[in-house]
């Protein structure tokens, strides 16, 4: 059949009064949505190829371009939305699984926006971060139950190894392969600059990044890509990835087109092969198997590095987290349904998992009830968008948060969600050397550092406003939160009161 039922998703409006036919847009678009007609000496557009990544808009020197959603409408139907119809058209055309990039875009509530923070007044002075020390230093790792002293008063208790962060934020796991080496380098540089950590993701660690080891958490995922002794020794922490919020229950997927020379050698797989991580770790079929792997990793690194376990937020996340804590993990990472990804089947991304706000509240409560909350660290992930979300996450019980999409946006991502094509126009989610040049690691690292610094200041302002000058006193401090626009049950599960109470 020689035609497609899919109408273009976007239309490109070119203001001819402003367009100077300089061809910058044509040169930059990796989807070839713009082309130059030498006879007419003008630039034209092929709208069906446009993915709304804003590359041309950002670089156009005269702001002559505007991209809009194609207002082409289907007959109004509250049940069969345009997206639902298009998805069927695509599958009828190709017979494949629908793939998506980035996190769940569905409009169910964002609970962070329904949670409000306290400020101190009259009975308790707020603290001014400009004039008083404000401590955000965070330690992640297993903590002993109490301090014991020797006879002479010196310290007897051995404190297990900790990750030391200047503030409770880290860059989440984004594998080299799903993102470019320049992007990974930028994350490493910014982590070092701001004294936090970044996570390698399941793509292994490229040799040029070993020098950033002190600020690196290396990941051991189900595909075990790039895992060997030096890799385990390279980072300051190790993470076992059981699942991720964007696609609970299945493993990572990197199409062969994105597996170039460097990716293949870092992952230790042949060039051009699809890098498919299996759904479970094939040596972890139960909690006791997980315990075995945790201790195997600890033994290999001589108990010098904290071991974290990352799980997706699912229905019985509280029980799973409790089991993981008892299995010997030092840190538990919970990734909510809004978490991002380079490629995931659309149905799984949109329907599987639960929001991190609930998962976090449930895990914190359950670990407290079990009497083990203080002994492990809990890290929350899955759409932390700003410093307000971080404050709320800490108050709900997190020791730290991971940011993924926010970090990418800081580097230049415009959330066009076509990461799985490997044609990222911003040089982030691609391995094409023509495109990866576009991400200058120095500029990107500076942007990431700026983001972290800005959030650091905002965090201190909010914390000082609550009359707190050390982040330890905010952890799990649900008295500082109130809910708004939530049902009674939601308030109950989150463990917070209603605004006004």
């Amino acid at each position: 059949m020689g035609f497609s039922m899919l109408a273009p998703e976007f239309i490109i409006e070119r203001n001819r009064d402003r367009c100077i036919d300089c061809r910058v847009c044509e040169k930059q678009c990796s989807m070839e949505a713009h082309y130059y007609d030498p006879d007419e000496e003008k630039v034209y557009s092929r709208e069906e190829k446009c993915i709304n990544c804003h590359r041309c808009i950002s670089l156009c020197p005269t702001r002559a371009l505007c991209i809009k959603e194609n207002p082409q409408e289907f007959k109004r139907n509250a049940n069969w939305s345009r997206n639902s119809i298009r998805e069927i058209q695509k599958q009828a055309q190709t017979g494949g699984i629908l793939l998506s990039g980035m996190g769940n875009p569905k409009p169910f509530p964002i609970y962070w926006d329904n949670i409000l923070l306290n400020a101190s007044q009259v009975t308790n002075p707020s603290i001014d971060p400009l004039r008083e020390p404000m401590e955000l230093k965070t330690f992640l790792g297993r903590k002993p139950k109490k301090l014991e002293l020797n006879q002479d008063g010196s310290l007897k208790t051995e404190v297990p190894p900790q990750l030391e962060l200047s503030m409770p934020v880290m860059f989440t796991a984004m594998s080299f392969g799903s993102i470019s080496l320049n992007a990974s380098t930028a994350l490493a540089m910014a982590a070092k600059e701001t004294d936090i950590c970044y996570n390698t993701g399941e793509g292994g660690l490229h040799e040029s990044l070993y020098s950033y080891g002190n600020w690196t958490i290396i990941q051991v995922a189900s595909g075990r890509f790039g895992v060997y002794q030096d890799y385990l020794e390279a980072g300051s922490g190790i993470e076992i990835k059981i699942g991720q919020g964007a696609k609970p229950g299945i493993g990572g997927h990197l199409p062969g087109e994105k597996v170039g020379e460097e990716v293949a050698s870092t992952r230790m797989i042949p060039k051009g092969t699809d890098a498919l991580s299996p759904a479970p770790h094939h040596d972890i079929y139960s909690i006791e198997d997980l315990r075995q792997l945790i201790y195997a990793l600890k033994e290999s690194t001589r108990y010098k590095k904290p071991v974290s376990v990352k799980i997706a937020a699912v229905h019985n996340v509280a029980a799973i987290a409790s089991g993981i804590a008892r299995a010997g993990a030092d840190i538990i990472t919970i990734d909510g349904i809004r978490g991002g990804t380079g490629a995931a089947p659309t149905r799984i991304r949109d329907s599987v998992g639960i929001p991190v706000e609930f998962a976090l509240a449930a895990v914190d409560e359950r670990l407290k009830e079990e009497g083990i909350r203080n002994q492990v660290s809990v890290v929350a992930a899955g759409s932390i968008r700003n410093s307000g979300d971080i404050v709320k996450a800490v108050a709900l019980g997190a020791d730290a948060v991971y940011i993924g999409t926010a970090a990418l946006v800081a580097m230049g991502c415009h959330l066009c969600r076509k990461c799985y094509t490997g044609k990222c126009n911003w040089g982030i989610a691609t391995q094409d050397p023509w495109l990866t040049k576009r991400l200058n690691p120095e500029i990107a690292a500076e942007r990431l550092s700026n983001l972290i610094i800005g959030w650091d200041h905002e965090f201190k302002e909010m914390m000082g406003g609550m009359g707190i000058n050390a982040i330890e006193s905010l952890k799990g401090n649900r008295h500082m939160l109130r809910g708004i626009g939530l049902t009674n049950r939601e308030l109950e599960v989150l463990g917070i009161k209603l605004a006004g109470e």
Binding site: I20, C22, W434
Partner: protein
């Protein structure tokens, strides 16, 4: 401009957008307005920098203002000269259009002016501005300003260590 500056190219960051060419035109136009330049002065203003693309390689080709400039040495009338800030400039009144300079330039950075075929066209550092437009508008830091060090032609070509030792200072624009 008081310091001796030079444009440094980092090819690994050139994205091949061509904004250097676009803004080079604007810098040398009458109107200095980008839309007017392209709508009205398209045929009278040409860029002095050329974008070279051979994917994945791309870079802007422009005059390197060599310390030991062959074009200056070869110029039969002395129209090509080095000013006090060590920029290589062309005094058009003296030029006779022999194009020896074009043949001598090892980079091929000098072109013939299309609208005045007896004159050479090359980078003039935007009339000795503090920050040339190509550097100002490069979106990815491929072109940056650096304080100039003493280098001769061979070194510019090979990018090896300077024979005359000087300190290299990195200044951000």
């Amino acid at each position: 401009m008081t310091k001796k500056m030079k444009i440094e190219l980092r090819e690994e960051y050139c994205v091949g957008c061509g904004l250097c060419e676009v803004y080079c035109r604007v810098a040398h136009s009458q109107s200095r307005d980008i839309i007017k330049t392209f709508k009205k002065e398209r045929w009278t203003v040409e860029p002095r920098v050329s974008l070279v693309i051979e994917k994945p390689l791309s870079f802007p080709l422009q005059c390197q203002h060599c310390e030991d400039a062959p074009c200056v040495k070869a110029c039969i009338t002395g129209a090509m000269y080095k000013n006090e800030l060590e920029l290589t400039l062309c005094d058009e009144d003296k030029c006779v259009g022999c194009f020896t300079c074009i043949m001598e330039c090892p980079f091929g950075a000098i072109k013939i002016k299309e609208n005045n075929p007896s004159l050479p066209l090359k980078c003039d550092f935007c009339f000795e501005a503090d920050e040339p437009f190509c550097v100002l508008h490069c979106p990815n830091g491929a072109l940056t300003l650096k304080e100039k060090i003493i280098k001769n032609v061979d070194e510019s070509l090979n990018d090896s260590i300077a024979q005359v030792k000087t300190e290299e200072v990195d200044t951000d624009e």
